[in-house]
Symmetry: C2
Subunit: 318 residues, 2 copies
């Protein structure tokens, strides 16, 4: 009997990863190509398709490809287009779905990486059986996917779920998006570094982190210092957890999820993030929601999450 599978593609600023994924979420082949240096998007999709086709051929005896799911920054579900993605070389609006279908005549769907991750969590991760949850990625930026009534919330224009760009602090930090006080400027990997630099500037107390040139400080260094009990590092995490917990209290007032899943580097710092975020969320949450909403680590594997998410996303469509 033919074994059915889908291909999940994760388009990043530097590399594009892909995985061949079964209906139970098993990745039986993976690979990647560079995202940069092509003549244009058409050329990129041609090279990507050729690479996929070679691998599809290898398995064609006993495996049947059902469709392709693509996760990409600013990927629009309705239009199939990547629109003005700041980290990609292509200019303007690129219809990735149409380009891909020229090479591989199967269902192809596109969404952004956080939305794909949310569906990955729903099909293959900790959100199995949940109808209402939120998935948040704490990476270089802060992304999110919202599932409500068992369905991903795309919204009218296909771009719903940008919790990273809601106001966490009134008139707060300048954000790359042009606004002030976005959650992303506090609770991303770069946000926590900004907090570190502010805290190191503000008080003059001894800290591990003073050993480094400020330009060298990373979220990893802050985490390592916190593990060793460095007071400044602990306060940096506490502040970050407070900001995130307070924003999640707002998120709950919108869609009242059963759980909020945190994914990415910062989410792994359980004792410094996951637990305090829950405590701060409970502190700031409206009474009717108290002690109802779980804060959980994503169950998707860090290296595979985006690809599995994109594969889950196409499984969910077909």
């Amino acid at each position: 009997m033919m074994k059915e599978y889908t291909i999940g593609i994760d388009i990043g600023g530097t590399n594009t990863a892909f995985g061949f994924v079964t209906k139970t979420g098993e990745v039986f082949l993976d690979g990647s190509i560079t995202t940069r240096g092509y003549k244009n998007a058409e050329h990129f999709v041609e090279i990507l398709s050729n690479t996929l086709k070679e691998n599809i051929k290898i398995y064609s005896n006993d495996h049947k490809l059902k469709g392709i799911g693509i996760g990409a920054p600013n990927g629009n579900y309705y239009s199939g287009c990547v629109e003005f993605a700041p980290n990609l070389e292509w200019e303007g609006i690129v219809n990735l779905v149409d380009l891909m279908k020229k090479h591989i005549d199967l269902p192809v769907f596109l969404t952004n990486d956080a939305n794909a991750g949310a569906i990955g969590e729903m099909l293959f991760g900790g959100a199995k059986g949940m109808n209402d949850f939120i998935y948040i990625t704490l990476g270089t930026g802060v992304g999110s996917g919202i599932v409500s009534n068992g369905k991903l919330v795309y919204g009218h224009d296909g771009f719903a779920g940008e919790i990273g760009h809601t106001f966490a602090v009134t008139d707060g930090r300048d954000c790359g998006c042009g606004r002030k006080g976005c959650l992303e400027t506090y609770t991303s990997a770069t946000g926590i570094v900004r907090t570190a630099l502010e805290f190191l500037e503000k008080d003059k107390r001894q800290s591990e982190l003073r050993m480094y040139d400020p330009a060298e400080i990373t979220s990893k260094l802050i985490y390592d210092a916190a593990v060793k009990g460095d007071k400044t590092a602990l306060e940096i995490f506490d502040y970050t957890a407070m900001i995130l917990g307070r924003s999640l209290a707002d998120a709950v007032a919108y869609t009242s999820p059963e759980a909020i899943f945190l994914f990415g580097g910062l989410a792994k710092a359980k004792e410094f993030m996951l637990h305090p975020v829950k405590q701060y969320m409970e502190k700031y949450i409206l009474n009717i929601y108290k002690n109802k909403v779980k804060i959980l680590p994503s169950e998707l594997k860090e290296g595979q999450a985006a690809v599995i998410g994109a594969a889950a996303f196409i499984w969910n469509e077909i």
Copy 2:
């Protein structure tokens, strides 16, 4: 042929209104009883049911009742219970749906008034044909109902959509809910009065509003002063619109609606609220959403909206 209808019930702190409503939203009978002064909730539901039954009888020759929809503060869709509603006399948790079904053996569903209003807008108002929109009531408090993928967002616990209790200002005004800076403390009828008192205290400029004892100032008086061009009143509205517009920019980042409907006294002040709210929302909104989201006045009639919403809600269920 029998004409089908539903009954919509709006339970308020003082009065409980009901309407007999056709599938096209026509109210062919309405009435009300007091909500207060009964022995207990059982007694209230008994009296309400008897009143309804007398009227049902009158129409029973050529009208067929299909179900009853109830909108009540803190009404929970899943449990059928009103839970700890601050403005009602009943203590704790009251299962209104079960109580009502003892008297009238038909489908009975409960939700809160803002959710019922949202469904009213979808079936009988300006949101016909929309799959993604938000309905916001600007009354004594600020309520909201969110529709996503064509369905009302109840959330895991049935209490989703409390945009009035998201943070509009970091560490802002004390809210009755125990938190600080809730949208409701700025953009409700009582919120705009708080703004007026603050503004009158802060500057000492001449204003119409100084003719009144501060305890007498209402949103209506502020509106009347603004119509006459009173600078302070205009600034009060401008500030209120800024706060609401900024919070709606956040709301869009959650569910990316096609439109946001504003209902209630403040929403009627088009030139001072509706238009500036839209401008402020565009100012604060994330780039990808710019010029995509409409701000519209609710098309439900002020006096009938809650009853029509509850009737629409039960039409939507059956």
